[in-house]
Amino acid sequence: MRGRPKPGAYDTTMTQTIPDTDWAAHLQRVHTHRDQNAFAALFAHFAPRVKGFLIRSGASEPLAEECTQEVMATVWHKAHLFDGSRAGVSTWIFTIARNKRIDALRKQRRPEPEEVTWGPEEEPDQTDVLALQQDTRKLAIALAQLPEKQRILIERAYFADLSHSEIAEETGLPLGTIKSRIRLALERLRHAMQ
């Protein structure tokens, strides 16, 4: 049966042996070897971030804790679906956390786009994987370099469950200012990605 870890097989000392940044390799080891050490490393990095995201999305502490564990369990169970040529690991985990936000916090059904047929299952092209990793890194840098005012509004658009007009009430900024700051931020990101 898929994904049944042996109790007691988890060993914290092993997490240091895998380079911290190559999360795709960790996920691969979870998928192919049911590697609990690789999973523990992913958990140590991503679980607190997922919990942070859920709390900022309005979850109470206990709900966020419960949902975080469910999100990370999904990471294990769906590791075989991860495709490094379509998304980075942080993006992939973000979408799982986002789905949990909709299911558990908003209690909504979650309409998903029709699957694209990618042809017969084959190994993702390594050139695509690398290009995507580079793009993601570029984007992360560009985001970090945004003027603070713009970055805060982008973060709110993602994390807070607020419409623009609610952000306006909260920040005291006119709606037009918020819209143009978000637009400027996105233009900067696009420019950085060219």
Binding site: M1, R2, R4, P5, P7, Y10, A44, F46, A47, P48, R49, V50, K51, G52, I55, R56, S57, E61, A64, E65, Q69, E70, T74, W76, H77, R86, A87, V89, S90, T91, W92, I93, F94, T95, R98, R101, I102, R106, K107, Q108, R109, R110, P111, E112, P113, E114, E115, V116, D135, T136, L139, A140, L143, I154, A157, Y158, F159, I182, R183, L189
Partner: protein
């Protein structure tokens, strides 16, 4: 499939990527993306922004037994059954609609709105509402102003308004300032998926009286 000229806004794609939209809007976004490779790619970018924000964002410390509990959860096996979303070629309804409106047009239970226009309200939770509209060729959709945002996605046929033409896959996003009078092109009926986050306010008398009864 023809060329799609009218796409989702950045705001809606961010909202969808982040899981912050009401269900009715998510339905329209997912349906448009099913028809539009360009917005599918843009969504990918916005999800990547989300991934970067997750990665750099503030972390909340998890319980000391969180990993152990998660491994127990894993041992119980996956909870979600895997989703299969296959569709019949040429179906007017992309797969996201199937859970809401049935697997194709013939499953829709229309209600007349007058003038040959029909609608079918789709069940979604939250403040926004979604419905299918059936507008016979050459017919006006009742003139209305908006209190919130309204999204109209064409599934079959086409309509025109003061600004442009909208065919299959095109999405019109109208806000509260907009007054528009869309007309279905002559020929086959125009079928749209519409979502609105505030009740519509019709300008002509009859639809306004009818509104509460029609549950628009």
């Amino acid at each position: 499939m023809g060329q799609i000229n009218h796409h989702l806004s950045d705001q809606l794609l961010i909202g969808y990527a982040a899981g912050a939209l009401p269900e009715a809007f998510n339905l329209v976004v997912a349906t448009h993306i099913s028809l539009c490779d360009e917005c599918r790619a843009r969504l990918g970018s916005f999800e990547t922004v989300g991934g970067c924000l997750l990665d750099s964002g503030p972390a909340a410390s998890v319980a000391s037994d969180a990993l152990v509990n998660t491994l127990k959860l894993i041992a119980e096996g996956p909870k979600e059954p895997p989703k299969v979303s296959r569709n019949r070629a040429g179906n007017v309804f992309p797969t996201p609609l199937h859970d809401y409106a049935g697997s194709d047009l013939s499953a829709v239970r229309w209600r007349p709105m007058g003038g040959g226009v029909r609608q079918a309200r789709l069940a979604t939770s939250g403040a926004a509402t979604a419905r299918l509209l059936y507008i016979p060729g050459g017919t006006h959709i009742p003139d209305h102003g908006h209190r919130g945002t309204e999204m109209t996605l064409v599934l079959q046929g086409a309509f025109r308004d003061e600004t442009d033409r909208f065919g299959r896959g095109d999405i019109e996003i109208a806000d509260q300032q907009m007054q528009h009078t869309p007309v279905a092109e002559p020929g086959a009926a125009c079928i749209c998926l519409a979502a609105t986050d505030a009740p519509l306010k019709f300008n002509s008398l009859i639809p306004r009286i009818a509104q509460p009864f029609l549950r628009i």
